[in-house]
């Protein structure tokens, strides 16, 4: 009893304050129409807020599925887009020339001399050797090895890469190579120096190889010069995609590649 009195002597004002405040708020909420409705509504407001927070978490957990379905959707759209410009389809079974297979990058390097990527698709999804890999904004690489579930891709950021490209609106083919160890720039060579290019022009694939379709955006011209005694430009190209930061890519299956290659081999001989 004495302890309680001592406690009250020390904290009496706080206790009285808290007790009487609670008491008056009980009165307010029970006997005042306005405050009562506000009280009920705002408790609903906070309950709703909690609900929406929870559902946001739930949607965050399902982001994976959403991502996958969006990638699939993207792939179908890209398929349509690429095939608009593709040559007339073969009269055989295939109605369109290019298939697009969405894939996820599960490992990639970009700061070595020869860079590689690994994708989570394989023969099960229809990926074959020598298929091109692109992202929404540009080139990624070429499938080199493939097994049932994975594909090994040689990045365009590779000393070996030679990709046939053109400056937009000109048909002259050039080779896109990677010289500096900078993942943002590549070099376009063997464009003749009489072609009137300027900084900012777009570089696209020209579809001369069987790997990439026509008109895939590669990048823009950042700088160019003519070496002494050379008749070709040396063009520095700023890549339009950020390869180190790419997560979703699309493997392009050119259904007529075999046919075209076989014919070219016979012709060359």
């Amino acid at each position: 009893m004495q302890n309680i009195l001592l406690l009250f002597a020390r904290f009496g004002s706080h206790i009285t304050f808290i007790f009487l405040t609670i008491f008056s708020f009980v009165l307010i909420v029970n006997y005042n129409q306005t405050q009562r409705s506000i009280f009920i509504n705002s408790s609903n407001y906070y309950a709703n807020k909690l609900d929406s927070k929870t559902s946001r978490w739930q949607s965050y957990l399902s982001l994976q599925e959403v991502n996958d379905s969006l990638a699939k959707h993207n792939a179908t759209l890209m398929e349509k887009f690429i095939n608009i410009d593709a040559p007339a389809p073969a009269p055989s079974d295939t109605s369109i020339q290019y298939d697009v297979i969405p894939a996820k990058v599960i490992r990639s390097t970009f700061n070595l001399r020869n860079n590689h990527l690994t994708l989570n698709v394989g023969t099960k999804e229809g990926v074959q050797k020598d298929m091109g890999v692109i992202s929404e904004n540009g080139l990624i690489g070429i499938v080199r090895e493939v097994n049932e579930n994975f594909a090994h891709v040689i990045s365009v950021l590779n000393s070996q890469s030679r990709i046939s490209c053109s400056v937009k609106d000109y048909a002259y083919p050039g080779n896109l190579i990677w010289k500096d160890l900078d993942p943002n720039f590549m070099h376009l060579q063997s464009i003749p120096k009489h072609v009137g290019i300027s900084i900012g022009d777009t570089v696209i694939t020209n579809g001369y190889s069987t790997i990439f379709p026509r008109d895939i955006m590669v990048g823009t011209i950042a700088a160019f010069k003519v070496e002494k005694g050379s008749s070709n430009y040396n063009i520095k190209v700023k890549l339009s995609n950020n390869i180190p930061n790419t997560q979703i890519v699309y493997v392009i299956n050119n259904k007529l590649a075999e046919e075209q290659k076989a014919l070219e081999i016979i012709g060359d001989e």
């Binding site: 009250f8 009496g12 004002s13 706080h14 206790i15 009285t16 304050f17 009487l20 405040t21 008491f23 008056s24 708020f25 009980v26 009165l27 307010i28 909420v29 029970n30 006997y31 005042n32 306005t34 405050q35 506000i38 009280f39 705002s42």
Partner: protein, 173 residues
């Protein structure tokens, strides 16, 4: 002690009656501008003896609040404001305590404490009371604009009335 009890009891009823019979009916409305309300009963809490036990101050704040509430048909609103003001008064007294401490057992007045001390003391308490009262009345900080406007204009109006009261009655102790 008994004279202090009588004086404060009289002040209690005088201020409460003034509040509910006179100032409740006074309203300045110019169109949408209805931010002026007169609350004079906080003066009762302001004028309670300095050395009075603080739980008792809080309880008396509750009492005058609930008394006013009976006439305002708002059970609890003035009472919670009175409780808060009674609690805040203790903290403000600590805050404004002179270097040598309070050397009076009576009510704080202009004569005993000096005009500047009394002005800051009473205006802080009145301002806190009004802000708390209008917050509880609106019961949601969605109406923060109305709360602040009400507080500012009612503070000016009520403070003038409080000063007039002190001028007229000139409480000595």
């Amino acid at each position: 002690m008994s004279s202090a009890l009588i004086r404060n009891s009289i002040r209690f009823f005088l201020l409460a009656i003034m509040q509910v019979l006179i100032f409740k009916r006074v309203a300045f409305n110019w169109g949408d501008f209805a931010f002026i309300h007169f609350l004079v009963y906080p003066l009762f809490i302001i004028m309670l003896p300095i050395k009075m036990p603080r739980p008792l101050v809080i309880f008396l704040g509750f009492l005058i609040g609930i008394f006013v509430d009976l006439f305002y048909d708002s059970p609890g609103v003035h009472a919670s404001a009175g409780v808060f003001t009674g609690y805040a008064r203790g903290l403000i007294l600590d805050l404004l305590e002179p270097y040598e401490g309070y050397n009076t057992n009576d009510s704080p007045t202009i004569e005993t404490m000096g005009i500047s001390w009394f002005m800051s003391y009473s205006s802080i308490i009145l301002g806190l009371h009004l802000f708390y009262y209008f917050s509880v009345e609106a019961f949601s900080f969605v109406y923060i604009f109305e709360i602040v406007m009400n507080t500012i204009f009612s503070f000016i109006a009520s403070f003038i009335i409080l000063m007039l009261y002190l001028l007229i009655f000139r409480p000595k102790r």
